[in-house]
């Protein structure tokens, strides 16, 4: 029987909790409508930026005053999910701004590009707040389907099409793993809601296999060993603004839910997860050492950072799964990472617009003298990625490793810190190339200048320093 009580109109709490998502959806519709007449085209950028800024504003209100579980418990508008939401919107804005005038052959399709990016952001927000596996799956697909197409966006390039195809095939496989895992978990416990799973007994082998499959599919999305093989090729082949978005937003969304759902794995698996994290860090950092292409170098570094964040998952498994400490550490780390990696990948996108060869590390020789602004910003991002003190990246790493130590995973923390030192090797190499090496003879330096890119680079650099120097602001405002 249908109970009218269950079909009653939306409550104001429902609307308040999903207001950011409603903003983004409105942005999608407006951006779509802006394409009906040439005169309306300039309104598209306005719809994109406006909807995301409005979403950020609503998320900030939710951070201060959470709406709790809305839509019959399908979605949690907690201050945590709202903080993730702010990060997703920032990631989309950064990637979009750097992507302006990046596409030359595809200039006619930029409208679709923006629309797909908004759809993907909406999927991320749904993922971070979902309170059951079905809602999460819709979010996951809403994130992934636009990204498959965005990865292959530069259709005239074989590498881009290949990146899209590879991402699609592996993504479809991961989605299949997730569904199969969810089905097994449901068969074992009779529920798919996280609240129900909290109360259910998860010890049966069936539930364990299900949890392992769910974890595997999420490991794919956040690019963790042994599901990281696709990362270098896809990151390199995709258009750089899309790579920026993938590296920051997708990873944040994957970890947001991974941390929420980590409790379905038994506490005894903490050691295994920590081992996977350490192996991921090792593969990422050692792989990055030998790269000569900036995009590929950053891709390997992205794998290493995913490994570092996975330590947080291990820490939350080993300690009290409901303790806030590890999740807060992950949020801080990711907040710093969104601005750092966003800026770093974004600057590559900016330089690449002046010629494909500027993604090569050696083409940046002596750039410090010609373009001190870009070089200084890129150096700052490198230092933050490497975890230098006074940058956001340092504090992020500090919080992650201290939460790992508190969970008694001393060996993992020690190896992690050592690998971070290895990582400095390639980050410093980039800085060295920029400032110390002589300029190449007879080669043109990148001349591209763009006000929007300068602005967003400035914002990213300021946020990296702000997070590094005044952590109290973020901790009080977002993490209490």
């Amino acid at each position: 029987m249908i109970h009218p009580a269950n079909l009653e109109a939306l409550t104001s709490t429902d609307l308040r909790g999903t207001a950011p998502m409603i903003c983004v959806t409105a942005g999608i519709v407006l951006a779509l409508l802006a394409e009906i007449a040439p005169a309306l085209r300039p309104a598209r950028g306005l719809a994109f930026v406006g909807s995301l800024l409005a979403a950020i504003a609503f998320e900030l209100r939710l951070v201060a005053d959470p709406a709790g579980e809305v839509f019959h418990g399908a979605f949690a508008a907690s201050s945590r999910s709202a903080t993730w939401g702010v990060l997703f919107c920032c990631a989309a804005l950064i990637a979009w701004t750097y992507g302006r005038r990046y596409y030359k052959e595809e200039a006619g399709h930029v409208a679709e590009h923006d629309l797909l990016m908004l759809c993907s952001t909406l999927g991320m927000m749904l993922m971070a707040g979902s309170r059951d596996l079905i809602t999460f799956f819709v979010g996951l697909e809403l994130l992934s389907v636009p990204l498959y197409s965005l990865a292959a966006f530069r259709r005239v390039r074989a590498t881009s099409v290949e990146a899209g195809l590879r991402y699609f095939v592996l993504g479809a496989f991961a989605a299949g793993l997730f569904l199969y895992g969810s089905a097994l978990v449901y068969a074992a416990t009779g529920t798919v809601s996280l609240a129900g799973l909290h109360d259910a007994s998860l010890g049966s082998p069936l539930a364990l296999v299900g949890a392992a499959l769910i974890a595997a599919s999420l490991f794919f999305k956040v690019s963790v060993f042994p599901f990281h093989f696709w990362v270098p090729d896809v990151y390199q082949g995709s258009p750089t603004p899309v790579t920026t978005f993938m590296a920051t937003g997708t990873k944040a969304a994957g970890f947001a839910f991974l941390l929420e759902v980590a409790f379905v794995m038994p506490p005894s698996s903490a050691g295994l997860i920590a081992a996977i994290a350490v192996v991921t860090m090792a593969l990422g950092n050692l792989g990055a050492l030998v790269q000569s292409d900036l995009k590929r170098l950053f891709a390997y570094s992205a794998v290493a950072h995913a490994g570092t964040l996975l330590l947080v998952v291990a820490a939350s498994l080993a300690g009290d799964p409901r303790a806030a400490g590890p999740v807060d550490a992950a949020l801080y780390y990711m907040a710093a990472y969104v601005f750092t990696a966003g800026g770093a990948f974004g600057l590559v996108a900016l330089l690449e617009a002046d010629g494909e060869r500027f993604t090569k590390l050696e083409s940046l020789r002596g750039l410090g003298r010609r373009r001190p602004g870009i070089s200084a910003a890129l150096s700052l991002f490198m230092l933050s990625l490497g975890g230098f003190p006074a940058t956001g990246g340092f504090l992020g790493k500090y919080f992650v490793f201290s939460s790992t130590l508190r969970a008694d995973l001393v060996w993992a923390s020690v190896i992690g810190v050592l690998l971070s030192v290895v990582a400095l090797g390639y980050y410093l190499r980039v800085i060295l190339t920029l400032w110390m090496l002589p300029e190449p003879e007879g080669e043109r330096a990148p001349e591209v200048r763009r006000l929007s890119a300068t602005l967003v680079t400035g914002v990213c650099a300021a946020m990296v320093l702000w997070l590094g120097l005044f952590p109290g602001w973020f901790l009080e405002r977002f993490l209490n």
């Binding site: 079909l7 999608i28 809403l142 389907v145 292959a152 068969a187």
Partner: protein, 175 residues
């Protein structure tokens, strides 16, 4: 009897799915997919989900299959077996990996089911009343209203995504 039917239909679904990837002729692929859909619908029916079974046949076997066939006919792929054959060759090289992953997944789940006994919990809890149309509607427009609404955005996103990949530029038509 129902058990026997279930195993028969499951076997049919698996064979059909294999046929989709293994067939060289796209029309054969599509027909295999059709067979898989029918087998799945029968499984739904055996589990007591009449509406889902009907929807499966109407939506997938009816509408989507016809669309697939239309696309294949329009693109005139029926006669061109060569590019697809190369694909099959590329796949056969990865066949060991595919078989390995498949067998591993199957073995692990068989093992888990054997160790857990019958998967009783879900049957005992049975909070989802999707066997009646009313129960299904209540779930879709009640508990899962948010994902249901957002899946419409997902469909929109998929349509745009395909458009980006498939739209032909001027001067690109010959490719």
């Amino acid at each position: 009897m129902a058990n026997l039917l279930f195993y028969l239909v499951s076997l049919g679904a698996v064979v059909g799915a294999l046929g989709v990837v293994a067939a060289r002729n796209p029309v054969v692929s599509v027909l295999s997919l059709l067979g898989t859909f029918f087998c799945l619908a029968t499984i739904y029916l055996l589990a007591g989900f009449e509406f889902l079974a009907a929807a499966q046949i109407l939506v997938y076997a009816g509408a989507i299959m016809v669309l697939f066939l239309f696309v294949i006919m329009l693109l005139n792929l029926g006669g061109q077996e060569r590019p697809l054959m190369d694909h099959t060759l590329a796949m056969s090289r990865r066949l060991p990996l595919v078989v390995l992953v498949g067998v591993a997944l199957a073995a692990v789940s068989f093992f888990a089911v054997a160790r857990s006994g019958e998967a009783q919990a879900a049957a005992e809890a049975a909070p989802l009343q999707v066997d009646t149309l009313g129960g299904l509607a209540q779930m879709v427009f009640g508990t899962y209203l948010l994902p249901f609404e957002l899946s419409s955005v997902l469909l929109l996103a998929a349509a745009i995504a395909v458009l980006v990949l498939a739209k032909r530029e001027r001067g690109e038509a010959g490719r």
